[in-house]
């Protein structure tokens, strides 16, 4: 596999599912479709997304998570010790299937490794192994079994570690462990989340990333830099890069996954906007620290919106590279 360019472009994990797959998932829920048929369509959609990432010219790929629903419920379904308690409201009329821990948690078998191998077999570009972190799985589940949250989080960390090790053995050079719940209770729980991440990434030689989105990042900064990963991926675009001020005060000592695309807006950002975001980030980061990505997973956008946004992102990164090579043209 080739070396990465400056400002490597990547995405946060999920892509929109094509209409035929959404329909198939609905049918499967109603028992009107065999699992093998659903699997065939998930593979088709994965192939299409790998192809699309090639065409867009991204540097580090993801499998697009065509086979996952909710990022926590997916792992809960695959792990030992969980059941789904039911639907719980998150806000407005948005509901999610909330898992419940009913027994000792653990890994029955590899969870994402098969999909990683499949996606990696389709491309020469590196594909990221994508995991949900133990703190977030615990925080977004009910717990009817463990006496303390700490015991549950650390047990989950061991299970996710096994999965990370298997991903690495299968050839993953990049492993991302998402912890969007990290700032739920930071004063009380940051140390626990850090300890859990230490268990997950222990002994890995792959390049490790954690993604934390929205919420109150300044409340966990600079403490956040203690997380034992190489890169922290953050949403900057949706608050118009306001976080840069926070990093100005205390230097960001890891690589940054720079969110330059707002995943909650239908509007497709222009190349200039992306370029401008990267330029602004270079006031606080060294160029070698910066990976370019959207703020979060793109699954809530349409395929066209997602592809349009990624096209601008890749172009913006390309122009940022050119500017650095011939600084006089930067104007």
């Amino acid at each position: 596999m080739s070396e990465l360019p400056l400002f490597p472009t990547t995405t946060v994990g999920s892509f929109p599912k094509p209409p035929y797959l959404l329909e198939a998932r609905r049918k499967r829920l109603r028992g009107q479709l065999e699992p093998e048929e659903l699997r065939r369509l998930e593979e088709r959609a994965t192939r299409e997304w790998i192809q699309r990432q090639e065409e867009l010219g991204l540097d580090v790929f993801v499998d697009g998570e065509m086979y996952r629903g909710d990022m926590v419920a997916y792992f809960a379904d695959e792990l030992e010790g969980f059941a789904i308690a039911g639907l719980v409201r998150s806000y407005g009329n948005r509901y999610y299937p909330k898992p419940v821990v009913v027994g000792p948690v653990g890994r029955k078998r590899p969870i994402t490794v098969g999909w990683f191998r499949f996606a990696q077999s389709l491309t020469g570009k590196p594909v990221k192994g994508m995991l949900t972190g133990p703190y977030t799985i615990a925080e977004w589940s009910f717990n009817e079994y463990y006496p303390t949250r700490r015991e549950l989080v650390l047990e989950l960390a061991r299970a996710i570690h096994e999965e990370a090790v298997d991903l690495e053995r299968a050839g993953a050079r990049f492993i991302q462990i998402d912890e969007p719940a990290l700032h739920t209770r930071p004063e009380e729980d940051f140390e626990l989340a850090r300890e859990a991440m230490e268990i997950v990434t222990d002994g890995l030689s792959a390049y490790t990333i954690t993604h934390v989105c929205y919420g109150d990042v300044p409340r966990i900064y600079p403490k956040m830099l203690e997380l034992p990963v190489r890169q922290i991926d953050l949403a900057l675009k949706n608050e118009d890069f306001a976080l840069l001020e926070v990093f100005r005060k205390h230097p960001f000592t890891k690589d940054i996954g720079l969110g330059v695309i707002d995943v909650h807006s239908h509007r497709v950002e222009t190349t200039e906007e992306v370029l401008d975001g990267i330029r602004r980030s270079l006031e606080v980061f060294e160029p070698q620290q910066v990976y370019v990505s959207p703020d979060c997973g793109l699954k809530t956008r349409t395929i066209e919106e997602a592809a349009g946004k990624l096209h601008s992102m890749v172009e913006g990164a390309r122009r940022a590279r050119e500017e650095l090579r011939s600084p006089t043209r930067a104007g």
Binding site: A85, G86, L87, V88, R89, S90, Y91, G92, N93, Y95, K98, V100, E139, W140, F142, N143, E144, A181, T184, R185, G215, D216
Partner: protein, 326 residues
């Protein structure tokens, strides 16, 4: 001892039953139904929430807050001076609310809860308790773009919500619950909070229960004892230190305690024995006839089946407690 609910109830039933409220909310957004039809669905779901509470045997029920988008928006959208902004995390939960923004002077325009209270009362075999988000919590969870000082914002909101309480007075509710969970995160603001409560309760005749949750009242409980309220609600699950608070600060004489002992945020169903033991511990500080036994907070954190099981458990505990004390 009274058994009572303290607020919200899941708006949709468990699968595979169709979530009518959810479908209707989607249709309303897409303009496929109008506000009147949506209100009819809210009416029906409110009746379900009341039926579950009355069916479980609760002594005092709420309307389930089916019409509340969240505890902030429901009030802010009816008050003068607010716009409604983007999503924010609600305390340390995985529930989000739309943040109200004070763009100008905030004031009361018209009754917010009265019509909903009348509807619930007319359809409930048990007394209904209206619930209000208190002025301190509502300001803490809002953005203030108008008032130079946060204190001015809080007191203006207290005046606005005082009018709401007075409007409820005319309906003679058995008790009104005022929710102030934010106090527990900002105990330094106690003097301002007391000032706000004085404004809020001025001239109000209905008994008021002041509810807190998601933490403990250490350092503030004793200082609230002279407020003209009927009592206070405390969360003994997220705030286990409330036990120490009872030890060190005592429980205000003559007050009722909203004893939040069934965890509203976890599906695990407490056993009758475990709650009985907690009650035994409690009677050293408050006599049982002054206890309102309830969940720690609103039950919308749970799927409906689990929420209903908690309500049933409250009544089982009360029955068992009466057996023991007989």
């Amino acid at each position: 001892m009274r058994t009572t609910h303290v607020g919200s109830y899941p708006k949709i039933p468990d699968l595979p039953a169709p979530g009518r409220w959810r479908t209707a909310a989607e249709k309303l957004q897409r303009g496929q139904i109008g506000p009147e039809e949506f209100r009819r669905v809210e009416d029906e779901v409110t009746l379900e929430a009341i039926a579950d509470q009355v069916g479980a045997g609760l002594d005092l029920v709420t309307d389930g807050q089916i019409r509340w988008e969240d505890p902030q928006t429901y009030f802010a959208r009816c008050l003068q001076g607010f716009s409604i902004n983007g999503l924010q995390r609600w305390f340390d939960t995985n529930v989000y609310y739309r943040q109200p923004v004070a763009e100008g002077p905030v004031s009361w325009r018209e009754p917010i809860t009265v019509q909903d209270y009348r509807f619930a009362r007319a359809h409930s075999a048990k007394p209904v308790k209206p619930v209000l988000t208190g002025p301190y919590t509502l300001s803490r969870l809002s953005q203030n773009r108008h008032y130079p000082h946060f204190g001015d914002f809080v007191l203006s909101l207290a005046r606005a919500l005082n009018q709401e309480l007075r409007a409820l007075d005319a309906e003679s509710p058995p008790v009104v619950q005022v929710d102030e969970p934010a106090l527990l995160q900002h105990k330094d603001d106690l003097p301002l909070f007391r000032e706000a409560m004085a404004v809020l309760l001025e001239g109000v005749r209905s008994p008021v229960m002041l509810y807190t949750y998601f933490g403990d009242a250490r350092g503030v409980l004793g200082a609230l004892a002279d407020l003209p309220v009927q009592g206070v609600g405390l969360d003994f699950v997220a705030g286990p230190r409330n036990w120490e608070v009872l030890e060190s600060e005592g429980f205000p004489a003559g007050w009722r305690l909203g004893f939040g002992v069934l965890d509203a945020r976890n599906t695990r169903l407490e056993t009758v024995d475990e709650v009985l033991r907690a009650l035994e511990r409690l009677v050293r500080f408050v006599s049982l006839d002054r206890v309102d036994l309830g969940p720690t907070a609103g039950l919308e954190f749970l799927p409906r089946r689990a929420a209903k099981a908690k309500l049933v458990r409250l009544v089982e505990v009360k029955r068992a407690a009466l057996e023991v004390t007989r």
